[in-house]
Symmetry: C2
Subunit: 356 residues, 2 copies
């Protein structure tokens, strides 16, 4: 009996010390919380609304408390977590790949949509309800190869390609204020998901490294992959079969299919995010918050909403925002700085190449 009692006492002591450790962690977390969790945000309505929502939904004693398992926050990517100009970054990837392919296979140059793409006629690619031209370009650059080969191509491109205006690798162009929101939410027990019209395979290559979002928390457009066991091992070949487009009404569908829970926070920047904002905030039995990033800062980033070149417009969601209670972030006035590399002297000083 003696050793057993001793062991029980030892365990009890460890449990007590652990409780003490937990208390310290809680105190430390509180100290952190006391520091500004969103230092790149000016103290406007948007910042206040985000902090109030997180404070209320994590307060166990309050009426708006949401248990951690249900703290699902979804983020559009292009235009919400990083820019989508002068073209969405995945389109820049596709165009670079297309240029390489056209050099190797000259007959591709006769393809009307390839010509449109390489000449920058994106309006032609986006014609029609399903953007058939864009899909054709996607098929050429995103299907027919193994997932491993595709991942390697994306990594290689990210390591070498530079954004034409900022002269930086594309994956360094995330919005600093949104990175802070991601960290702030996770520190408060939220699970953060990307829900983007972009290709899920494209995003998963870098989502963990760039945003701290693991691959399984990335929802995006996808074709089905085809499995084969080859002499050199298992292989998954990318196809566009059963294509799922994670945009507009596809976003709530994708959230259901991949996450299986209704979010309580949604961040978007275009009408492509309207359905996701509705699904998150209308008649949700839990408290909820919808946020729209409004691109108002031509000096540091880009200014657009109704008129865009190669990305989705922001018209209907902006009209609906006041009635739905969605917070509209004015990039120019709400964000102290836009990019991580921005110094106090501005973006120019942080640049590594001349603007274009």
């Amino acid at each position: 009996m003696e050793p057993f009692m001793n062991r029980r006492l030892a365990v009890a002591q460890i449990v007590r010390l652990m409780a003490f450790g937990a208390l310290l962690v809680a105190l430390y977390a509180q100290a952190f919380a006391a520091a500004d969790p969103l230092p790149s945000w000016n103290d406007g309505q948007a910042r206040k609304a985000i902090i109030a929502f997180v404070t209320e939904t994590t307060d166990e004693t309050g009426s708006k408390y949401v248990p951690p398992a249900e703290r699902i926050a979804v983020f559009d990517n292009d235009g919400t977590l990083w820019p989508e100009n002068p073209v969405p970054f995945q389109l820049a990837y596709a165009l670079d790949m297309l240029r390489q392919m056209a050099e190797q296979k000259p007959e591709l140059g006769k393809d009307v949509m390839v010509q449109a793409a390489l000449s920058g006629d994106f309006a032609k690619l986006l014609e029609g309800p399903h953007h058939d031209g864009l899909l054709h370009i996607i098929a050429l650059t995103h299907a027919g190869m193994t997932t491993d080969a595709f991942n390697a191509d994306v990594e290689k491109w990210l390591a070498t390609a530079r954004h034409p205006r900022y002269g930086k690798p594309y994956d360094q162009l995330t919005y600093q204020p949104m990175q802070e929101v991601l960290s702030y939410l996770r520190a408060n027990g939220f699970k953060t998901f990307i829900v983007s019209g972009g290709g899920v395979d494209f995003m998963r290559v870098w989502s963990e490294r760039v945003y701290g979002i693991p691959p399984e928390q990335v929802v995006g457009s996808a074709g089905r992959v085809k499995y084969a066991l080859t002499p050199s091992g298992p292989e998954l070949v990318k196809t566009l079969d059963y294509l799922f487009v994670d945009d507009k009404d596809g976003k709530p569908a994708g959230i259901h299919e991949f996450i299986g829970l209704r979010p309580i926070m949604a961040f978007g920047n275009s009408d492509g995010d309207k359905a996701m904002l509705e699904y998150t905030t209308i008649a949700n039995p839990r408290p909820s918050l919808g946020v729209i990033i409004h691109h108002t800062d031509a000096e540091r980033e880009y200014a657009y909403d109704a008129h865009t070149k190669s990305s989705g417009k922001l018209v209907e969601a902006l009209q609906d925002a006041p009635g739905r209670g969605w917070i509209v972030v004015d990039m120019k006035s709400d964000w102290k700085r836009v990019f991580p590399f921005e110094t106090e002297a501005g973006i120019e000083a942080g640049k590594s190449a001349a603007p274009r």
Copy 2:
């Protein structure tokens, strides 16, 4: 300067105390690890292989170390985490719903496949490469309603239906040894996923409660849902459009689509899991382990492999196992007990109704 210094000191002290707390947690974890993590397993080759694999892949100093983000473990559900006899539980759900529907709509009784289903002629439902009869039954019972209505139906069924042999609610019939594997893996930094031919919506209703696996870590068969904003709020209606069948070659495809990482552990029990076992263990750059649950215990559970009534056979995967290094669990000799409710006196004593 004074208050700042004080604060810095205080923070340093907290960090030191936290490190001490972390040490205690580590010690406590070790104490736990010293206790048997798999008490319902006999000390055979299977148990040894699982423990050796987890020990090696979590040992930072060893050559087989795998970082936590890549510790992905995938589990088939029917026949791997809970029984699939006398019929897979989701089929029992579908049949109960079908009976209700046929009472309300007598014309359904003239449907050949409904007749086959209600008379227990499952061979007819499973005819053809795509199991068209089964799909028809699934369409009748799993499509055309909102996701909320479906979830409520599944909850209601689980609360009232009883397994014909064990007399228990279906969700109490999980395999105790596999529950221990799930907990053991998670305690060692693994992420546990279900990858099942079953319907993802069906499983997500109870996966967190029953297995501690959150909805977003459940991969399964699914049709696309259709979004609409109705006067009473957003709605998702279940369809069988773009049906994805998460079985056989669909399993590696589903793993890629939903998780985006190659697993390092896979647990299955039928040829439907063969591709998943291959994808996990063949030419994987990381260490990997494949495990097959072999149903050998007619007394406590069921004994079957090549001959099944309404579930997938186990023939090819069993033949491949030795060559692939897959561990075959002999339920009869490897498992001390099968179900959580099993007492030392056996399953009979734990039953709440007469066997059938």
